[in-house]
């Protein structure tokens, strides 16, 4: 009997920390295969910079998933943040407004997403899919379909290209955002309410939680985080493409789903998302170093997401 119980607790351990362990294994594997290029401090810093965009956009997706909804417009919203900020920068606005206005715009669009979902009971899947299309169209209208890169002032590049010693500002922002949202989700009444809504919307309403208000807040924050991601990307690259952020969307959800398999079983959580994004980033980095062809990278990343989700089912039985 004790043996049976021990094996159950092993299974639980794997279920809770399996994804983290898999991450460690992936790092070990790459370190063995490529000790001189992968396993270096420089590369670690490099990875932290590369994943900063994915982590921040995925934090937003985590909030929306915590209330049991989807926001499929995050990619377009990130693109919007980028082109809007770049356009403002080129037009010579002070850097404060260059950053703030796109954030507020995305906050508003996110709020509208939430409002349509909560007020008219439209599926968030449909609402945000359509909103993503609309934003995508607007992005092309703003830029005329071209990349914005000429006459971008240096002040705009500060965010994405500054390094303190060896540490990129981007990585610092990413860590700061992760801790901030971890705190919000676990130590504030707002976080508790978001999780309650995701756990049981009807019961939350009866318990006096203002469901629509809090859901709208989650959508608005998600939009804002997506815009921040886009601004940072544009600042890093010194250019903004009307669909430059679109590619982040699928990976953002992959990160959240990977994260749901760690720490808190089946619940979107901030550190889980961070680990998920890190795993995706490390895979991309390591496989590029090993010269794995891009198509193969996609196949492997997809397989790992499925494997992580399957691992969580381990020992669940059929019940």
């Amino acid at each position: 009997m004790t043996e049976a119980r021990r094996s159950i607790s092993y299974i639980r351990l794997i279920r809770t920390y399996g994804t983290v362990m898999a991450g460690v294994l992936i790092i070990l594997a790459f370190s063995l295969l490529s000790p001189h290029s992968f396993a270096t401090i420089d590369n670690a810093i490099n990875i932290s910079r590369q994943i900063s965009f994915l982590v921040i956009i995925a934090l937003g997706a985590t909030l929306v998933m915590a209330v049991g909804e989807f926001d499929l417009s995050v990619g377009a919203m990130a693109s919007m943040g980028g082109v809007f900020a770049a356009k403002l920068a080129v037009a010579g606005y002070p850097i404060f407004f260059v950053i703030l206005l796109p954030m507020l715009a995305a906050l508003a669009v996110g709020y509208v997403n939430g409002w349509i979902v909560t007020r008219f009971k439209v599926l968030s899947f449909i609402t945000t899919l359509a909103m993503g299309t609309i934003i995508g169209g607007i992005n092309f209208r703003i830029t005329g379909g071209a990349t914005v890169f000429e006459n971008i002032p240096d002040s705009f590049l500060y965010l994405g290209q500054t390094e303190f010693g060896d540490i990129p500002l981007l990585s610092v922002i990413m860590i700061f955002m992760t801790i901030l949202f971890w705190y919000i989700m676990t130590h504030t009444a707002l976080g508790r309410k978001l999780y309650a809504i995701g756990g049981n919307e009807s019961a939350s309403r009866v318990a006096g939680v203002r469901v629509a208000f809090n859901k709208n807040a989650a959508f608005a924050l998600c939009g804002m985080l997506a815009a921040i991601t886009g601004i940072l990307m544009a600042s890093r690259l010194g250019s903004a493409h009307p669909n430059g952020g679109d590619g982040l969307f699928l990976n953002a959800y992959a990160a959240v789903f990977l994260g749901m398999t760690s720490f808190k079983e089946g619940v979107p959580n901030v550190w889980g998302t961070f680990v998920g994004a890190a795993i995706i980033g490390i895979l991309a980095n390591g496989m590029t170093i090993l010269a794995v062809p891009t198509f193969m990278q996609d196949v492997i990343t997809g397989c790992i997401v499925i494997a992580a989700v399957l691992m969580q089912k381990l020992g669940r039985g059929n019940s």
């Binding site: 130590h187 009444a189 508790r192 049981n200 009807s202 019961a203 309403r205 006096g208």
Partner: protein, 503 residues
């Protein structure tokens, strides 16, 4: 010869015996009641004989021969079917489609298309056999609770079924609806089907069953003939302690100030239609009505979950301009919803998180949650209400029904309410928890609070209400002080369409 016979049945979860050495038998064509408090092992037993769980020991004999029931398919194949408390129907499917769930549809000439005519024909014969009238073209979601129950029973009878297990079949039915079910049960037994009837409701058990088996803490306590026992005898078998008969004790209601005054209240969807009522300090007021009378809707409109289209709600002298759950809670009004799992609890969250959800403000200092204070408060309420759990951090979904209901009450009490709105507060909880809940409601009233509760169990209303309203089609049909009121009187108002009141 017995139909089903179990010998020395064991089932172990962890170190806990859910069933231990259970032996008894069910005869052919009998209604065999199975009773016991929540956690006595009734559900486990059902799951074993229907092949959901494998027993850890013991044997099962079916019609005299030992059998192995490895999965629910095996059980159905030999003729054991179960109709659960929570219905297993597909909401968007019609009666016909639900009837054929899990069976192969009769095929048309080409062997591909569904042979609808044959399907309907078979359903019709089945309904005729058991005297059931049901519009099978309706989708399940548009059927009333009794219609759904009938449909499920019919589905069980689609295959040769010798033992039909009914698990709390009347939990969501009104008395009048239950009658239809009892009639059907009579027809089934006449046709030779045995019924294993699991229920908390004593009057039904004594009315229907031939024999009664009592479980307690996973053990078989006794199997008795109905004639050889009575309610008190049965309850003392279910419970170790001597059980005191639940009689109504006259409470002295002080003529307190009104806590709730409702005048001409109507809901936007018309389910509540010009209701006026009041509840005073220290009063327990019951609302009784048949299903569809608008009982739940009335409470929800008062609480602000349902939009009102007219009328006034006054709480402690203060008119409520815009009712919402938040403002109700702030005024000291709490609602205990009927559907515990759907509306009252976040099952994946801990007991602590559930209890404090309505009063998060109380525990957030600035931005931060004050975790320690929160935990202390949650633990205090758990102790007060005797919630059995491994601790405040245990997920509510892991608790038994009775303990979940206690968490619901803790969650309501934590906001120090002046008015309790309870919708079916004791539905599907065991008799001891039921007593505790009744005591709790009374003690709320004794402490100067006001209680307004809805129950489809007339006995319950007559047991604990000081005053009662009879609701009929969204209107108040009668207001009665609970003195020498007979069930017949109350039911008369339910059917009288409130004619005498109109004048």
């Amino acid at each position: 010869m017995s139909l089903l016979r179990v010998d020395g049945l064991n089932k172990i979860f962890g170190q806990h015996y859910a069933l231990s050495n259970v032996s008894f038998e069910i005869g052919p064509g009998e209604v065999h009641a199975l009773v016991g408090e929540n956690g006595a092992g009734k559900s486990t037993f059902i799951k074993i004989v229907t092949g959901v769980y494998a027993p850890d020991g013991g044997t099962i004999a079916w019609k005299g021969k030992p059998v192995h029931i490895g999965n629910p398919g095996d059980a159905r194949a030999i003729g054991i079917n179960v109709v659960h408390q929570d219905r297993h129907l597909i909401p968007s499917f019609t009666g016909y489609e639900n009837l054929y769930l899990g069976l192969s549809y009769p095929k048309g000439k080409l062997g591909v298309g569904v042979h609808w005519k044959e399907m309907k024909e078979r359903a019709r014969t089945l309904m005729e056999t058991y005297g059931v009238k049901l519009n099978m073209n309706k989708t399940a979601q548009r059927m009333s609770p009794p219609e759904k129950t009938m449909l499920e029973i019919l589905r069980a009878m689609m295959l040769e079924c010798s033992l039909l297990i009914l698990d709390e079949p009347t939990a969501s039915l009104t008395d009048q609806e239950s009658e239809q079910l009892f009639e059907l049960i009579g027809k089934l037994t006449q046709a030779g089907t045995s019924i294993l009837y699991v229920s908390h409701r004593m009057d039904e058990i004594f009315r229907l069953s031939d024999r009664i088996t009592v479980f307690r803490n996973g053990k078989h306590v006794a199997t008795v003939n109905r004639q050889d026992t009575d309610r008190d005898g049965l309850i003392s078998l279910m419970n170790d302690n001597e059980y005191k008969k639940a009689n109504r004790e006259e409470r002295n209601v002080p003529p307190g100030k009104p806590v709730l005054e409702v005048r001409g209240l109507s809901s936007e969807d018309g389910k509540v239609n010009g209701v006026s009522l009041h509840v005073r300090e220290g009063e327990v007021v019951g609302i009784f009505g048949l299903a569809g009378a608008g009982r739940t809707e009335l409470l929800e409109t008062i609480y602000g979950l349902r939009r009102k289209s007219g009328g006034d709600i006054v709480i402690q002298g203060k008119p409520q301009s815009s009712a919402s759950p938040r403002s109700s809670l702030d005024q000291g009004v709490v609602l205990i919803p009927e559907e515990r799992k759907r509306d009252a609890l976040v099952l994946g969250m801990s007991i602590r998180e559930n209890i404090t959800l309505p009063v998060l403000r109380k525990f957030s200092g600035g931005l931060k949650m004050r975790r320690k204070t929160e935990l202390r408060e949650a633990e205090r309420w758990m102790a007060d209400l005797k919630v059995k759990a491994s601790g405040a951090e245990q997920a509510v979904g892991q608790l038994s029904g009775g303990n979940q209901q206690k968490v619901v009450f803790a969650k309501a009490l934590i906001s120090s309410p002046v008015l309790f709105l309870c919708d079916e507060p004791t539905q599907a909880v065991d008799i001891m928890t039921r007593e505790e809940i009744h005591r709790l409601l009374k003690s709320q009233a004794d402490a100067g609070g006001a209680v307004l509760f809805v129950s489809s169990d007339l006995q319950e209303v007559l047991d604990i209400a000081d005053r009662l309203y009879v609701l009929h089609e969204g209107r108040i049909a009668a207001e009665l002080p609970n003195r020498d009121v007979s069930p017949e009187q109350v039911l008369a108002y339910c059917f009288s369409q409130g004619k005498d009141r109109e004048s």
